[in-house]
């Protein structure tokens, strides 16, 4: 059962009125949300019995999260309590009792968030997504499959075919109020699809994806078709030998590198834990001057956009890297205030309670990106990137990217799994055989060796990621690539 915005707002407003009158309470913040996360998982295998749409499924949850500040004889204490599926007065009382029982003395806690800035986005969700029915979600899944199967049939590929991926729909409603004057709400709809196609006997894999806030713009069949075309285009791939190459990173690898390495290192939570290669580098040059990166939660139509954070602060633009210089970090209220005497004060535009694909009442705000925008100082068309590297490799999809020696060391590794090509004399020469190359590099080298950034960008999401990257393609010099898996391919 859906819970409407008015119910959430009434609950948090009345709740604040009640809690602020309780003994020892100095301040209180109440967050309430309702979320539904729908996944229609695809699995078509031409040579193995399968379901096509393997399972349409969903998780629903709602509840209250309450953070109270208590003045006691021993100083200020803070306590967090939550209740599930009880957006009522009774729910507030239960959450308050838990907060009271759970209170602790944390000397790093300075204050609840204060109102700041103005909201940009209003009414940007799609009511049609909020109301989507059980049969309609199943149909979306089959539309994605149809796009892929039809394309395979057109190209006369009938066996050794794999089509996998999902349609994901996220519906979020939240409201927040506090004794500091925060009083706001938000309503979001997100649709994404990621489809992977393979012709397994050829060892090729292709990817297609799309993301939208509105049902009318959502075309899973196009993603299915794109994935097939990309797979077929990479048939006949060749291996490369171990060495250092000039590389064009496509949108998925750019997103993967930012999601797993760069953005975590640009979060104040990593700075707090002394675990970032960017500690002590604020104001310094950390990358090629061609690179500018910022987080912007106000982009209309982008699926990472929100009206307000889960702390009730209007979203906005947070500059992170400007023409190669480190200019900011992603922050929530807690870390912004804790570290404001060490750095400068960063506006807490990234305090979100993301969990299970929604805004979860049961956790306190973490630092999460919204839409990460990557820009170049002098952007060039995609084709010009190949000219820039002349000879090298176009990398279209990487996998399992991790900071292998800890985030602060900057070392990372991953493997090239799909959508990739060998480049000669500024042009695509031949496909690169998937799963035969491992990247072993340091992220600071990659950032400093950028030689061009493309002007065309696309909303890109990778598995397990909370953020959307408006990703260009990026050309980089001197990337170490190791030949692997000689026993198999």
């Amino acid at each position: 059962m859906m819970i409407d915005i008015e119910t959430l707002r009434t609950c948090v407003r009345d709740g604040v009125d009640f809690v602020k009158k309780q003994k020892d309470v100095i301040d209180v913040e109440i967050f309430a949300s309702w979320n539904e996360h729908i996944t229609v998982r695809l699995n078509y295998t031409s040579d193995i019995p399968c379901n096509g749409v393997h399972e349409p499924k969903s998780i629903q949850y709602n509840g209250i999260g309450l953070l109270a500040v208590f003045g006691t004889g021993k100083g200020v204490k803070v306590g967090f309590g939550s209740v599930s599926n009880n957006i009522t007065k009774r729910g507030v009382v239960d959450a308050f009792q838990k907060a009271k029982r759970n209170r602790i003395y944390d000397p790093d806690f300075k204050s609840l968030p204060l109102p700041f800035g103005k909201v940009v986005l209003e009414n940007y969700h799609d009511p049609a997504v909020m109301e989507i029915g059980d049969e309609a979600i199943v149909i979306l899944g089959w539309r994605g499959l149809k796009g892929a199967i039809t394309e395979y049939n057109k190209k006369n590929f009938n066996n050794s075919i794999i089509i996998g991926g999902d349609i994901t729909i996220i519906k979020e409603r939240m409201a927040i109020a506090s004794t500091k004057g925060i009083d706001d709400f938000d309503e979001t709809t997100i649709l994404t699809t990621n489809i992977t196609s393979m012709v397994e006997r050829e060892g090729v894999k292709g990817t297609g994806w799309c993301a939208s806030t509105h049902l009318s713009d959502f075309k899973p069949e196009d993603a299915g078709c794109d994935s097939v075309l990309s797979a077929i285009n990479t048939i006949g791939g060749e291996r490369i030998s171990t060495g250092t190459y000039n590389v064009v990173f496509g949108r998925q690898p750019v997103t993967d590198l930012f999601k797993n390495i760069v953005i975590p290192a640009l979060s104040l939570s990593s700075i707090n834990a002394s675990d970032s290669p960017f500690i002590g580098k604020l104001g310094q040059k950390i990358s090629s001057e061609l690179l500018t990166v910022y987080d912007d939660g106000t982009i209309s139509g982008a699926v990472g956009s929100k009206k307000v954070t889960c702390e009730g602060i209007p979203t906005g633009r947070t500059d992170l890297i400007n023409n190669g210089f480190l200019v900011g970090f992603l922050a929530n209220n807690y870390f912004s205030r804790k570290l404001e005497n060490i750095f400068t004060s960063f506006v807490p535009r990234n305090g979100f309670r993301y969990q299970n694909g929604g805004r979860y009442h049961n956790v306190q705000p973490k630092i999460c990106p919204t839409n990460i925008v990557i820009e170049g100082k002098e952007e060039v068309p995609n084709e010009a990137l190949l000219t820039k590297i002349n000879d090298g490799v176009y990398i279209g999809r990487i996998w399992y990217t991790y900071p292998i020696n800890g985030l602060a060391a900057g070392d990372f590794t991953s493997t090239i799994v799909a959508d990739s090509y060998i480049v000669k004399m500024g042009k695509i020469y031949k496909p690169l055989k998937p799963n035969t190359v491992r990247l072993n590099n340091n992220i600071l080298d990659i950032l400093n060796n950028i030689i061009a950034v493309s002007s065309e960008k696309k909303q890109t999401i990778v598995w397990g990621g909370e953020e959307v990257v408006l990703a260009p393609e990026i050309a980089v010099e001197g990337v170490k690539l190791d030949s692997i898996s000689g026993f198999l391919y």
């Binding site: 349409p56 949850y61 599926n85 089959w142 996998g164 994901t168 292998i404």
Partner: protein, 525 residues
């Protein structure tokens, strides 16, 4: 105006509440049988009671004591039998018998509607995609059983204040070891989880397990040096005694945390390990092998990966390309090596029945180097023509079950680990796992280690940092020439799989091994 009631916390829902609503759950599953073309349904209903706390640098960060209630309904319906699923978290206020029955029947109906719609589209597409088939579940014996949690010290009786004091005390002690310790974090959770599984086949399995876990993170740095960080865990499916020394390390959490802190400090003074272009002799310790077996044996022997269901996410398996072209029955490792998955032994993968009600059993994955089988669930067992072996697990009742590792390990050998090292004239000792990166079909890996030591003339000598090993998986497995007799199972708390991603606790381990691999190091700027 709200009414203040002080007794609410004292009367909150506990896992024992399942006793009072069992009838509502079995009645709800009975309702599924009346739905037209409903071929199968099951419900998992769970209550979890947990206490938790964390502290950084000697300062309290959070503590709490909570209960979560949720259920998942899974339905097979339609002429071409297809899946539909619905999951939901519930509140304490709606845990009464009538309310539960209403929620469960509504959930079954939602899952049923989805299954029917899915079956209809499957029929429509079948002419252009002939491999689309009805779901068949391999048969199992239907059980009614109750499994009680095993612990020495009941997690629910541990005082919350004691947990937070332990966190702050240990993290302060870590920080006080040296000014070079830049960050210390301790987090603890302890609780009990009870889950009831009921199916239209008549199964009714009521399982309760305790869980206690302590986590340690430390960052140390010399002036102007590269920070050294390390995180590690202790934990088991038992009570508070786990953190008092009844664990794989045979150490209390405080001793474990201080040891990891001193090791991290020692590493800040070590040289970076130089990478090699060619394989060298490496001896890997049981803690390192826990992650190694997880990544290069456990994951590729999950039947859903073998059957390509994870192609878009966690990857396929190089062990199964097709029914006609796979490694079953073939030599994929040294004859010295055996690996298995066993929910009966102690560890995070311990249980008696999986989330489909299949009795758990030891699954022999590799016997003397020969690939013998895959971990599976009922649907995948039917496709492969194997017997169900009870390897379906879910992070919570509202998640769909997936094929998961249980306690997946390299089997014990017979060689003294000291001898394994002393036989090496020139090699490296790889100690304790850190971070993995594995190829898509698990055919190649790079895994970093907490510490790497040089072995010279049978002696452990110089310590290196930021090191690890990389190899094609088959090469590493085939080159194993010694297996130790120091078998241990370690807790792996964060294995991600599925969409939406589920984070699962599994047990992994083994004894000391000796093989060959290339060394990896710090990519110096």
């Amino acid at each position: 105006m709200l009414e203040y009631r002080s007794k609410i916390i004292a009367t909150r829902i506990k896992i024992e509440h399942i006793d009072t609503i069992k009838d509502s759950i079995t009645k709800a599953i009975g309702r599924a049988l009346s739905l037209k073309n409903c071929n199968y349904a099951d419900i998992r209903f769970g209550i979890n009671e947990t206490k938790y706390a964390s502290a950084e640098d000697g300062k309290s960060k959070c503590m709490g004591e909570d209960v979560s209630i949720s259920f998942g309904a899974r339905v097979l319906a339609g002429e071409i039998s297809s899946w539909g699923y619905f999951g939901q978290s519930l509140g304490e206020a709606e845990a009464g018998q009538k309310s539960i029955y209403k929620k469960l029947t509504s959930g079954i109906e939602r899952a049923y509607t989805r299954a029917l719609a899915n079956a209809g589209k499957k029929a429509e597409f079948k002419h252009s995609a002939p491999s689309l088939t009805a779901v068949i579940l391999a048969g199992i014996d239907v059980h009614k059983d109750t499994i009680n949690a095993v612990f020495d010290k009941e997690p629910r009786e541990v005082k919350l204040k004691g947990i937070i004091n332990l966190c702050t005390g240990i993290s302060l002690d870590m920080r006080n070891i040296s000014n070079d310790v830049k960050y210390s974090l301790i987090h603890i959770q302890t609780g009990v989880n009870r889950e009831l599984f009921c199916s239209t086949e008549g199964a009714c399995i009521d399982q309760t397990y305790a869980l206690t876990q302590g986590g340690v993170c430390v960052v140390a740095q010399k002036a102007k040096g590269v920070p050294e960080s390390y995180c590690d865990y202790m934990g088991d499916i038992h009570g508070w005694e786990v953190l008092e020394g009844k664990n794989v390390y045979k150490q209390a959490l405080s001793d474990f945390a201080l040891l990891r802190t001193r090791e991290t400090l020692e590493l800040t003074e070590a040289e970076f390990l130089p990478a090699t272009d060619e394989p060298v002799v490496v001896v890997t310790n049981p803690h390192f092998n826990a992650l190694l077996v997880h990544e290069i044996v456990g994951h590729p022997t999950e039947a859903d990966r073998a059957l390509k269901l994870e192609t878009a996410y966690a990857g396929r398996s190089w062990l199964f390309r097709s029914f006609d072209d796979n490694e079953l029955g073939k030599q994929i490792a040294s004859p010295l090596l055996t690996a298995y998955s066993d929910p009966a032994i102690n560890g995070y993968g311990h249980f008696k029945y999986d989330t489909e009600g299949t009795p758990s059993k030891r699954v022999n994955l590799i016997e003397n180097g020969i690939l013998k089988g895959f971990m599976n669930g009922r649907e995948y067992a039917a496709i492969l023509g194997h017997s169900p072996n009870g390897s379906m697990r879910a992070t919570g009742p509202y998640y769909v079950p997936l094929v998961r590792m249980t306690n997946t390990v390299f089997a014990n050998g017979d060689k003294d680990p000291k001898e394994i090292i002393s036989d090496v004239s020139d090699g490296y000792y790889i100690v304790n796992h850190r971070i993995p990166s594995i190829s898509e079909s698990r055919e190649n890996f790079r895994i970093s280690a907490q510490k790497v030591y040089k072995i010279e003339k049978g002696q452990i000598t110089k310590l290196y940092r930021h090191g690890g090993i990389t190899s094609d998986s088959k090469d590493f497995l085939m080159n194993i020439d010694a297996v130790g007799n120091d078998f241990e199972v370690f807790p792996i708390p964060n294995c991600g799989k599925g969409q939406p991603m589920q984070i699962m606790r599994v047990g992994n381990g083994g004894p000391t091994l000796r093989s060959k691999a290339k060394l990896t190091g710090h990519q110096k700027l």
